[in-house]
Amino acid sequence: MMEVCNCIEPQWPADELLMKYQYISDFFIAVAYFSIPLELIYFVKKSAVFPYRWVLVQFGAFIVLCGATHLINLWTFTTHSRTVALVMTTAKVLTAVVSCATALMLVHIIPDLLSVKTRELFLKNKAAELDREMGLIRTQEETGRHVRMLTHEIRSTLDRHTILKTTLVELGRTLALEECALWMPTRTGLELQLSYTLRQQHPVEYTVPIQLPVINQVFGTSRAVKISPNSPVARLRPVSGKYLLGEVVAVRVPLLHLSNFQINDWPELSTKRYALMVLMLPSDSARQWHVHEMELVEVVADQVAVALSHAAILEESMRARDLLMEQNVALDIARREAETAIRARNDFLAVMNHEMRTPMHAIIALSSLLQETELTPEQRLMVETVLKSSSLLATLMNDVLDLSRLEDGSLQLELGTFNLHTLFREVLSLIKPIAVVKKLPITLNLAPDLPEFVVGDEKRLMQIILNIVGNAVKFSKQGSISVTALVTKSDNRAPPDFFVVPTGSHFYLRVKVKDMGAGINPQDIPKLFTKFAQTQSLATRSSGGSGLGLAISKRFVNLMEGNIWIESDGVGKGCTAIFDVKLGISNESKQSGIPKVPANPQHANFAGLKVLVMDENGVSRMVTKGLLIHLGCEVTMVSSSEECLRVVSHEHKVVFMDVCTPGVENYQIALRIHEKFTKRHQRPLLVALTGNTDKSTKEKCMSFGLDGVLLKPVSLDNMRNVLSDLLEHRVLYEAM
């Protein structure tokens, strides 16, 4: 029997060498196949990121099986049993399955793995980009910081030079400039002058004309403009040879004017004045102007413009304030000078008043006396002339002095009650002689409702009427003169259409003086009331006068709250002078003021009037008592203030007290009496008897509550009038 072994015969002849090589290769392959998964496991364990672990497992299995296959192959080179062959076959089958599965799996996996790689690349790019952007933002933030710092530096001062210098310095530092310069327009505006530079301490002052194209280009836009380093504005230093000049940028700086600023509004850039700022990068560096740097420059230029205008405003206001202070000082000096001048004039007037009037009065008085004596006709004529001239002179002096007092405003009207009708008649009787001589009939018309007794300044009203009527007579050669007086309520120039009953206590008196004389040219009318002016056509040497009359009359009329004006139809047609003055109506039906001796010396109204007389001087006490007894009063006498206070009672209607004893304050009595009698109607009237009635004494009396002041020695008439006034009005305004 042949031994049948379950051995498998190899297919090929057992070539010893080839077989050996195959044996070795298979062995190494197996080793490699077993080690690869180990390595994979090791490294996968190390890294945490690998996503496809089960793929690895699969792959590992595949490789292990391949390795196993190859390993088992080693046994097939020699005769091997069937089991080996079986194992081999199984291994191979498994390997085939796994490897197919793996292959199928890889079809899915590998694109994924590839895409991971592309994502990685993408992310790297992104990171690089972000880095770049970060760099940019940082630069910008730096720039912003620089601008803020620059602005702060610039705006922290209000001095123009500091502002500009600081600008250049800070810009130079921020941007690391080589040179920085500012060109300002000259006063004429036709040139730009190099005003400030950064590096050079004493810039050579030279100018360029403003109409250069490069300058126009820069001024034309609000942006920073790159200009050529060779342009005249950029040639700030002598060119030192072969170096490559750095890039130059120029920007305009608007010089805003005060008038550009409107409240709550942005300034209008209507100004055409710009300054030029030129910035040069360091030469021979490869630096270029970046956009953000140019933006920085623009912003700075704007800030500088605002800072400059603020400085300008401040300068302006300081200058205005200095000017005002100067003016104030000057005005003060002028005012003081004016005051001094007025005082000097018043002093002068006061002196002249007295000094001039005294000799004047002497001349007039003595001339009048001389007239009374026996004179030859020639002498008489001479004396009359002297009298007339001196009267005129006296009137002139009075007029001038009056006028200056009027202009000062220091003249006050002396009000009193008087008879208006009588006043007119007096005026007329004064003027009649002259009018008769000149054959000019004068008529007087008094309106029926013209009050008879009025309150006003009698003397001055007479002066006004005399002046006007006198002028009418003076300047008329023929015709008649009519004087009309009526009441008018309104003070406008239209004549009243109806007679208004004067209500209240005042009325306006209107006086019209019409003449048919020379008339006045309407153009000359305004001049009439000016001082010292006389129209040529009217002035004749024979009509004297100073030309002051009308001016003074106008002032008086104004003081009386009235109006005066002249109407004329022309030369030769006569004229009408009209004036209104305000007068008070007196509610007394009887005359008061000018005392007349009454027929009956004994007075019923004083009968039994209880009075108290206090006087330390026995003689004057007795005289006063006699006076009062004569008037019918019942007199009690006391000789001291204590006695007076003791004796005084509400029965006494008047207390006369002597206050001129020196060293004793009798005024206190007045206060004590006031205290004693609180009800006004019970208190007796208090009158002071004193030796002088100057203003201070009167004021003193008033301040102590006295009702009146009397000058000693008192005459009978005086006392009578005083008593009647006192009892009627309860107070005495004037008593002398």
Binding site: V619, M622, T624, H630, K712
Partner: protein, 156 residues
């Protein structure tokens, strides 16, 4: 009889006018005379005699004050002068009043010599006036006794 009265009256008038003209009297005296009427026939005489008494008293006081040169009380002298001035102006004693004015000035500057001089003058003046007025009153009495009336004299 009438002619005697008329003569006396004329004498009286002339005398009175001369007193005014010589400056012894002024307006105030006229006023005083106005106050005299049937109710008070002796008013002027009373006032005037009171005045003269006052004068002598004041002059005595003042001369005592001015006696010792080292101890002059000018205050008292001043008040005396003031009184005298007031009285003299109340009766119309013009000359006396004028002397009082100068007297006061001397007193203000404390001039003893001046004061003494003024005092002497005042004394002289008031005594003179007293004599004159005495004569006047005598004339008045004679007129009244003769049955006439005291004429009203207008002094302009």
């Amino acid at each position: 009889m009438n002619t005697v009265v008329a003569q006396l009256q004329r004498q009286f008038q002339d005398y009175l006018v001369s007193l005014y003209q010589q400056g012894f009297l002024d307006n105030q005296f006229t006023e005083l005379r106005k106050l005299q009427d049937e109710g008070t026939p002796d008013f002027v005489a009373e006032v005037v005699s009171l005045f003269f008494d006052d004068c002598s008293k004041l002059i005595n006081t003042m001369s005592r004050s001015l006696e010792r040169p080292e101890n002059v009380d000018f205050k008292q002298v001043d008040s005396g002068v003031h009184q005298l001035k007031g009285s003299s102006s109340s009766v119309g004693a013009r000359r006396v009043k004028n002397v009082c004015i100068s007297f006061k000035e001397c007193c203000d500057v404390q001039n003893r010599e001046g004061c003494l001089r003024c005092l002497q003058q005042v004394d002289y003046e008031y005594k003179m006036l007293k004599t004159k007025l005495q004569d006047l009153f005598n004339l008045e009495q004679r007129i009244l006794q003769a049955g006439g009336m005291i004429p009203q004299v207008n002094i302009s």
